[in-house]
């Protein structure tokens, strides 16, 4: 399964990528929402996007809105991974079409638990 990790911080992309590879994902990366739309076009087999909110050029929220307009991407799971932890922001992102929400800082377990919940990795014993 392939995942797209979207964050303007390379440090954060490396951390999220490491966790996803650890549970068997192939990964591609993007540094902002616009780049992420391009990556999705190049990689139609992406099943999961991990999306930072606060990025230059195009925010993660704007990316979710754009991605949700595209029929061919309707099966992609969208998971926000962001410092934007206010209830209002979470509600906005979920209403726009995000499926899950992880607030930075996080542990690898938090990410893997969410992926299990979403049915993207098998539940651990």
């Amino acid at each position: 399964m392939k995942a797209l990790v979207i964050d303007d911080s390379r440090v954060m992309r490396r951390i999220v990528t490491g966790i996803l590879r650890g549970v068997g994902f192939d990964t591609v990366e993007a540094g902002d929402g616009k780049e992420a739309l391009e990556r999705l076009t190049e990689h139609p087999d992406v099943a999961l996007c991990c999306i930072d909110w606060n990025m230059p050029v195009m925010t993660g929220f704007e990316f979710v809105v754009e991605a949700r307009k595209r029929q061919e991407w309707r099966d992609i799971t969208l998971m926000m991974v962001t410092t934007e932890g206010e209830q209002g922001q979470i509600v906005r992102a979920l209403a726009a079409g995000a499926h899950e929400y992880v607030i930075k800082p996080f542990t690898p377990e938090i990410i893997v638990d969410k992926l299990e919940l979403l049915g993207l990795v098998g539940a651990r014993a």
Binding site: S9, R10, I15, N54, T82, E84, E86, Q89, K104, P105
Partner: protein
């Protein structure tokens, strides 16, 4: 009590310490116990670097972190899981310490009444000019024995 005081964010050093502790335990150290309050005299930061984000709410707030270049490099190595003593380039440095400011700022934003937008992190050799800014929190933390200056400012 003036209206200005009443609308000021109610934010205490303990909450900031809680955010920083979470961040260091989960993403920097992978275990608790390496970040504490700094006891004693405020330390001198050698060859210091500054990183900050602004929360453009009402009132606008700035989260400003400062540390020596050396401590910032240690932090970068920890976040990137680089070997002890390995060289840290400017790009990785700015990315890593900037993301620390972003995570602290984002968590603070979710605690203040009118959060507003969060700016992208800045990293520089000097603190940003902020005439009229008022310090809400101004404290030193100790990470593995090295000082980290953490401050929160109400911007005019």
């Amino acid at each position: 009590m003036s209206a200005a005081t009443e609308s000021a964010p109610i934010f205490e050093a303990e909450a900031l310490m809680g955010i920083a502790t979470d961040l260091f335990e989960t993403m920097v150290d992978g275990e608790p116990g390496h970040l504490t309050l700094w006891w004693g005299e405020p330390p001198e930061l050698e060859d210091s670097r500054f990183t900050w984000v602004d929360i453009q709410g009402q009132p606008a707030t700035r989260v400003l972190l400062a540390a020596s270049r050396e401590t910032g490099e240690q932090l970068t190595r920890a976040l990137l899981a680089l070997p002890e003593g390995s060289a840290v380039g400017d790009e990785d440095f700015a990315d890593a310490v900037g993301e620390v400011a972003n995570v602290v700022g984002g968590n603070i934003k979710s605690m203040v009444p009118d959060g507003g937008a969060l700016t992208l992190p800045s990293v520089a050799h000097a603190a940003p000019d902020a005439p009229g800014a008022i310090a809400i929190i101004d404290t030193y933390l100790s990470w593995r024995g090295a000082p980290l200056h953490v401050s929160l400012w109400a911007l005019p």
